[in-house]
């Protein structure tokens, strides 16, 4: 544990960068400020053609600020842009437009070398623990890589760090010489978490970290993530399609539909009273593990439209049970009502 709590050492790079780049004073509570984040993937009509014929609007103007030590959950269905948002925040995919400020540092303005150094602050845990660990590397090699890349430490210290990382995530240090295939899904995800923790990051994007796991294992990993957050003061962006998991882990929840944030609210309030018609439908669609649960389900018709050709006005109007003429014509903005935000003409 002791080796993990040395923030000064690894954050040096960050603090120096911050001094040079923070133009405006930032709210000390806010760790990450995202403004109008956009990622469009061009569609080319002909192969090798330079002229894009259009764009898939994977993320289309997402703004949110993430407070220090909080967990912000992002939910939505396949193709809503939640994973792309997570990746764009870390610049694992290059955003098309927008602003991302990490404690005042404009991440989009960093050059590749600065970005590489800055990544010690921000890490990611991926969905599929089978695909995100190199099958030819032992767990020791997997955990060593970030340490060797970013820090100059001796062999002895390196081994101590790896042992303590393994213990932190509930694995025995003795397992470090094994290969990923020798572990179960839950243990592999622990390795993925240990790798993300290796450089003492402050912010972790977790992209569906428990979706590939069985329920009994899922709860072990969720508990672990919550413990680590408390011990190490981490801030999470937790991306998931599973509403009950998001409810468990998050302080605030953002709901995405077709690349846009349609609602953002503190978890308890969101689940007590969803405002956006899409959030309502999404919540009512989740099967409850209770045979006597009341089911006034809102069944949405049809599929999510293509993000290459989103509907006019409010993107949800094609499936919305309460859509009006105005929704077809005019795009609702994400407006603030008290401590929550919603993008719907119903509340204007």
């Amino acid at each position: 544990m002791s080796t993990l709590n040395k923030p000064e050492e690894t954050l040096n790079g960050a603090t120096s960068l911050q001094g040079s780049d923070s133009l405006q004073p930032t709210d000390s509570d806010v760790l990450l400020e995202i403004r109008n984040l956009t990622k469009h993937y061009p569609i080319r009509k002909k192969m090798f053609s330079r002229q894009p014929a259009g764009a898939v609007r994977a993320v289309d103007g997402v703004s949110l600020s993430i407070k220090r030590g909080e967990t912000i959950g992002i939910v939505g269905e396949s193709g809503c842009g939640k994973s792309t948002t997570g990746r764009a925040v870390l610049r694992l995919v290059e955003p098309t437009a927008g602003e991302i400020r990490f404690e005042g540092t404009d991440i989009r303005a960093l050059n590749p070398e600065q970005l590489r150094k800055f990544r010690t602050n921000m890490q990611m845990v991926f969905q599929d623990p089978y695909a995100s660990l190199d099958p030819r590397w032992t767990v020791r090699q997997i955990l060593e890589e970030p340490l060797r890349t970013h820090e100059t430490i001796g062999q002895k210290e390196l081994e101590d760090r790896i042992d303590s990382l393994m213990e932190t995530v509930g694995l025995s240090p003795y397992h470090a010489s094994r290969f990923p295939h020798e572990f179960s899904g839950g243990q592999r995800q622990r390795v993925g978490i240990a790798r993300a923790l290796a450089l003492n990051p402050r912010f972790i994007v977790c992209d569906e970290p428990v979706s590939a796991l069985d329920v009994s294992i899922q709860s072990q990993v969720l508990n672990l993530m919550q413990d680590l957050q408390q011990q190490l003061g981490l801030t999470y962006m937790f991306i998931s399609h599973d509403l009950s998991v998001v409810r468990f882990i998050s302080d605030r929840v953002g709901v995405m539909y077709l690349g846009k944030l349609v609602e953002l609210a503190p978890t308890a309030e969101m689940f007590a009273e969803p405002l956006h018609p899409y959030t309502k439908a999404l919540m009512s669609a989740v099967p409850q593990p209770d045979p006597d649960a009341l089911r006034d389900r809102i069944v949405l018709k049809g599929d999510v439209p293509s993000p290459a050709n989103p509907p006019s006005g409010c993107a949800f109007h094609t499936r919305c049970p309460v859509a009006t003429e105005r929704c077809r014509a005019e795009l609702p903005e994400l407006k603030t009502y008290g401590n929550r935000q919603v993008a719907c003409h119903l509340y204007a």
Partner: protein, 330 residues
């Protein structure tokens, strides 16, 4: 003829692997009556999918085999039937839908032909008639513009549409038993709700019995009449759906239900089951759940408990419940 549509008794399915023989399913009994929905729940590797493949006689030929047991469908034992006789039943009187609608549809054959294939084979109808039938089936599963969809290929459809096509394919001969192996796991929740609704509607219309295999306890609560809980190749508990959620008896079922994060509850620490599912090549000598069980006794590590049932038909494989019962009895 018995009242049961399907009766599986003592089913044991084995796989021959490099490391030895794996008993993926180890002595399972199941009963499904007409029009009923039976759920099988359990985690990865518990044998629930292998059970369904055994019933359909779709085990991989070279490595998998049914080592013992009977599978009686309408009184006739499928295990002892010839491949030809099985083909008369499969796709006709019983049909199956799979988890991944992309990989279980043929990518190079048009939707219309795939939907009507089993009808052409079993009902001996012509091509024209088959096309009309597939259009009718697609309309029935809620696909708009079926006349155009029959001419399309699977990749042109969304995941939800493909799963509707799978259901249309399975229902085309009006089977008496539909086996659904994780039918909505690959789908988004709003699409899942549509598909579950559709399955319920079709069941009411046609009186089909459904064997629902899933890991999602929410889907079980919503769809099933009775539930079988499997662990490491065995049934550990069986009861009606209400009793399962109200008063689960087996410590594994209890752990499973406790570890669910609930949509209707606040944020606290989740209960979890320590450890993991045992390696099928190194099963514990006593109760298979003993290494992870919070209430295990010495007896549990030494001998294996039997699946015993109470008067109400609630079955449970646990020494603790047996002791309680004996204490009440004496």
């Amino acid at each position: 003829m018995t009242a049961e549509l399907l009766e599986v008794s003592g089913l044991r399915t084995e796989f021959v692997t490099g490391g030895g023989v794996i008993r993926a399913v180890d002595g399972i009994d199941l009963k499904i009556s007409r029009g009923e929905t039976l759920g099988i729940v359990g985690e990865s590797g518990c044998g629930k999918s292998i059970t369904s493949l055994s019933i359909m006689q779709l085990l991989p030929k070279k490595i998998g085999r049914i080592a013992a047991g009977e599978i009686r469908f309408k009184g006739e034992d499928l295990v002892r039937k010839s491949a030809r006789d099985i083909r008369r039943v499969r796709g006709n009187r019983m049909a199956m839908i799979f988890q991944e609608p992309m990989t279980s549809l043929n990518p190079v054959i048009r939707i219309g032909r795939q939907v009507a294939e089993s009808a052409r084979y079993h009902l001996k109808i012509g091509r024209k008639e088959a096309e009309l039938l597939s259009i009718e089936m697609l309309r029935k599963v809620g696909i708009s513009r079926p006349e155009q969809i029959v001419k399309q290929y699977p990749h042109e459809l969304s995941g939800g549409m493909r799963q509707r096509v799978m259901i249309a394919m399975a229902m085309v001969c009006k089977p008496e038993l539909l086996i659904a192996d994780e039918p909505t796991t690959a789908l988004d929740v709003t699409i899942q709700a549509q598909i579950l609704d559709l399955m319920r509607e079709l069941q009411q219309e046609e009186g089909t019995a459904i064997l629902m295999i899933t890991h999602d306890l929410g889907v079980v609560a919503e769809m099933c009449d009775r539930v079988v809980v499997m662990y490491a190749g065995q049934v550990v508990e069986e009861t009606d759906v209400r009793t399962l959620f109200r008063s689960p008896q087996h410590p594994y079922t209890q752990g499973l239900l406790d570890s669910l994060p609930q949509l209707s509850e606040g944020r606290e620490r989740l209960a979890s089951i320590p450890g993991q599912v045992p390696n099928p090549l190194e099963l514990p000598p006593g109760c298979r759940f003993a290494p992870r069980c919070p209430v295990k006794m010495r007896q549990c590590e030494e001998s294996a408990p039997e699946l015993l049932s109470t008067e109400s038909g609630h079955q449970c494989r646990c020494f603790l419940r047996q002791m309680e019962k004996e204490a009440v009895g004496s």
